[in-house]
């Protein structure tokens, strides 16, 4: 170069830009996410503005034809006054569901957050046990808690058969505690509490204890410290939790559908927005309205996400200073220590173990609740059931189809968790290294969107893709399941990855750069080991979710024998609900065993990110 140029030539600037791994990651993931997330989103949006099929054309009337552009879905769902349609189908369920989801958030964040505080910040005895047990409800499917709730509280006074509580104590709770909005919120809240525990606990554990001590010394009361210091600092994790719990709860179908059994007159009848959405989407006449609903639900969550970004603007963000934060002094609970521990133990064990027992019970009784019909046939019988294929047996343990499907599910979940976890980790890295850059924020937000798209619609888009010319090789392929699973469950990993990476100061990596350690080695030998437990939870969460996911894969699986959850739904469709409960129990046991093995091998576990030591 002869002349002194002010700016580097474009080529060199590009070269320098792409020599930073964080930039490359951002660009690569932007492309992947736009392809994988934006396209399904667009399909939904387009679907909400056009006539989807002849049935919709009939519904809309006036000569509308399949494929026409229309505002009808939006107008109909949001404004129709015929029989109060818009109010009944949309506004009222939306309001009630939002209320339910908020209540679920309160339960999840309250319960999970309090336990997280006790585990990370106090000298509570029995932490290890509480921490291990506490994540159980998340490993179970969400309706497991709902089923347990019903079995526990139902009573003869409301004419629903005798529940556990009544048979033990004789107490009959009012119907509104058993069916409707309240139990939905409770079941979902309890199901997602471990989530809050993992996210909030992670921050609490990594948070510099000096920040709280500084306030103590300045004579702030314990409550004020919590309110003014601790809460604002854990706010990002709190909002993440609220976001995840809120969007999961509001779009949860099984729980509200299962717990809506009261008569209309009782006033307990609660039709959630998700039930309405499922009903609309599944009916040929109103698919478009279903899409409208799905979009609005997503808008809700995107709203929270934006709010979150706005609240925790970069100005207030904190870079971690390598200080003496290792010296966390645990809050002395004093005499309350044992009492609190016992209360927590009882509550946590109750909600973790009882649903499991309830599953186990359902799997060995011909008639629910009737011990005289005890049988082990759904576990061990070698007979075939109605219309069974070769290898299908009533007893799930004898069914070679179940075992093969279990193997495939495990394989799928392992691959998905590896892909999603690694993607999440990389996104976390890019976001942490390129704080405040628009690109990084966009990537991080996009990575969250798959979580907000209803599983069924998400699956349907990929199904359509697999039927498109040039992509037919995807149809029914295992690769498609991996692809969809990886994208759908990436948000878990990208959230944990980001928060873990943010805890690492850039200097740690810079130190390695200086001595010339290549990027890959920096990631695997320096950054990963430091935040190992957090990252491994980033791998475990997708694993668990993938293991028990059904609605996402049901459209895409080649046949019912593909995955253990499809086998499960086949059993329940055949009326062998005992066998499907047994499979559920088996899945939970598998997940627990794998978690245990991972824990033994790596010393990390999903709860360990929080600190159950």
């Amino acid at each position: 170069m002869k002349k002194n140029t002010q700016k580097l030539p474009l080529g060199n600037r590009m070269k320098s830009y792409f020599s930073k791994p964080a930039n490359v990651i951002c660009i690569v993931f932007l492309v992947i996410l736009i392809a994988a997330v934006v396209i399904p989103l667009l399909t939904l949006l387009i679907g909400s503005f056009k006539v989807n099929g002849n049935q919709e054309a009939i519904y809309i009337g006036g000569g509308a034809k399949d494929g026409d552009f229309t505002f009808n879905h939006w107008v109909e769902l949001l404004t129709s006054k015929d029989f109060d349609y818009a109010k009944i189908k949309f506004w009222q369920p939306l309001g009630q569901s939002a209320l339910m989801a908020l209540l679920a958030c309160v339960v999840a964040v309250g319960f999970g957050g309090i336990v997280a505080w006790f585990i990370t910040r106090s000298d509570l005895p029995g932490k290890k046990y509480i921490s291990t047990i506490f994540v159980f409800p998340y490993i179970m499917p969400s309706w497991a808690m709902a089923m347990f709730w019903e079995n526990f509280f139902k009573n003869t006074e409301m004419n629903a058969g005798m529940g556990i509580l009544q048979s033990v104590t004789g107490i009959c709770v009012p119907e509104r505690i058993v069916y409707g909005l309240f139990p939905c919120a409770m079941s979902l809240g309890l199901h997602y509490a471990p989530f809050a525990y993992i996210l909030i606990g992670g921050i609490l554990r990594n948070m510099d204890a000096n920040l709280e001590e500084a306030a103590t010394v300045l004579k702030a009361s314990r409550f004020k410290i919590l309110r003014k210091i601790t809460l604002p600092i854990v706010m990002p994790a709190l909002v993440s939790t609220v976001l995840l719990v809120f969007s999961s709860s509001i779009s949860s179908f099984t729980v509200p559908f299962f717990l809506n059994k009261s008569s209309i007159n009782s006033g307990n009848n609660f039709i959630s927005i998700s039930v309405q959405m499922r009903c609309l989407i599944n009916t040929g006449f109103t698919k478009g309205q279903g899409y409208v609903l799905a979009i609005i639900l997503m808008m809700f969550s995107i709203g929270i996400l934006t709010l979150n970004n706005w609240f925790t603007g970069s100005r207030k963000s904190f870079t971690t200073v390598t200080g003496k934060s290792g010296q966390v002094s645990l809050v002395k609970l004093g005499k309350a220590r044992v009492v609190i521990a016992i209360i927590l133990l009882i509550i946590v064990t109750f909600f973790a173990v009882m649903p499991l027992l309830s599953f186990a019970m359902e799997s060995v009784l011909e008639v629910p609740g009737d011990w005289s019909t005890f049988t082990l046939r759904y576990w061990i019988s070698g007979e075939g059931f109605e219309g069974s294929n070769k290898g299908d047996t009533i007893g799930i343990l004898r069914s070679s189809i179940m075992w093969k499907a279990m193997g495939r599910s495990l394989l799928l979940s392992v691959i998905v968790s590896l892909v999603a976890g690694t993607f999440g980790l990389l996104i976390g890295y890019a976001v942490a290294r390129k704080r405040n850059s628009k690109l990084a924020t966009t990537v991080s937000d996009l990575a969250f969107l798959p979580y907000l798209i209803p599983s069924m619609s998400f699956g349907a888009v990929y199904l359509a893709l697999s039927y498109t010319k040039g992509f037919t090789w995807l149809d029914g392929s295992f690769f498609l399941l991996i692809l969809v699973g990886s994208i759908k469950f990436m948000p878990f990993a990208s959230r944990t990855g980001t928060s873990a990476m943010l805890q690492l100061s850039g200097e740690i990596e810079e130190a390695a750069i200086i001595i010339g350690v290549p990027w890959l080695k920096r990631m695997t030998k320096v950054l990963f080991p430091i935040q190992k437990s957090s990252f491994i939870s980033g791998y475990l969460l997708p694993f668990i979710s993938c293991m028990r996911e059904m609605s996402l894969f049901v459209l895409l699986a080649a046949s019912y024998t593909t995955l253990v959850t499809t086998v499960l739904s086949e059993y329940s469709r055949t009326g062998l609900s005992q066998a499907s409960n047994a499979i559920n129990l088996l899945i939970i046991v598998f997940v627990l065993v794998i978690q245990f093995v991972v824990n033994k091998l790596t010393g990390a576990s999903i709860d360990k990110g929080v600190g159950g030591n």
């Binding site: 510099d208 001590e213 010394v217 604002p232 870079t319 200080g323 003496k324 002094s329």
Partner: protein
Amino acid sequence: MPKIVLEHVCKRFDDFSAVEDLNMVIEDREFITLLGPSGCGKTTTLRMIAGLETPTEGRITIGDQVVFDSEKGINVSPAKRDIGFLFQNYALWPHMTVYQNIAFGLENLKWPKDQIRERVDEMLKMLKIEQFEKRYPSELSGGQQQRVAIARTLAPKPKVLFMDEPLSNLDAKLRLEMRTELKRLHADTDSTFVYVTHDQLEAMTLATRVCLIESGYMQQYAPPLETYSNPANLFVADFVGNPTMNFYETTGKITSEKTAEVNFFDHPFIFTGNEALGEYGGEGFVIGIRPEFVNLEEGGLIGKIYATLPAGMETTVKLEVGDYILTSVMFGNVDYKVNDEMHFEIAGDGIILFDKKTGKNIGKGTLTI
């Protein structure tokens, strides 16, 4: 006014003990530094006095109030000890502006709004950070953050101020500047300062008294110059002073109450104590000679120039005597040629005789042939 008394304070963790049987009295308005290598228990000590850490045993009194007593089960919370604490990493709250950070403690004291405003302005001015009032900590440099942290700590006018290596994250120049300011601050505020550092120069320059700690045991608790000129033991002698003291291991015997005969570079030397000599274990001596007591170009001892390190104001000269390297400091700028022969002598009455076995200071005096 606040006088801090520590009696038999111990802190043990599961597998090791951080502080053992610590007794010390910090007088009102003193500036105490806790000095020692990393991991010696100095931060733990500070945190115990502040109430952030609970001692395993012992008793701590601040002023008239017993704030901790393991036997009586007293443990007053840090909030009620009327102290200020400056953390090593500043611990500024990332979600509050500079103003909010500083005002926080005053709000807790329920000061009226206008007085808070006034006091914060005063602090901002004093620490020259007025222009950053509305910024968030992440938008400040290390030095600025540190000054905010100081302002936050000082704002409620604490009677006792604890500082945990507050200058360790700053660059050398800024560190010097801040030292001066801290010393001024001490003079201006009428408070008692307890300051943790591993930098002996910082300890020497700031403190009215230095408390040296090693592996949880207090080694010496004395004014800085005392620790320099009359170190209680080998550890203190080694830790304090730069360049470090020359240590010469040798044999010999006590010849009278005040004298001892020692072997020094193959010559029998007489050590004469300024006062009566202390107890001797009989397994050899260590002679401690500050570099400034090694006079060059004089006397009958001969060595070879090993290296010359001029630093402007003074010059450190390393002499090779047999297989021993002796350090000497000379005022002014000199330059010797490497490997030249050099005469030297040991001068003055500041030579220390240590017991080799216990490391304890036996006596201070002169070394003559």
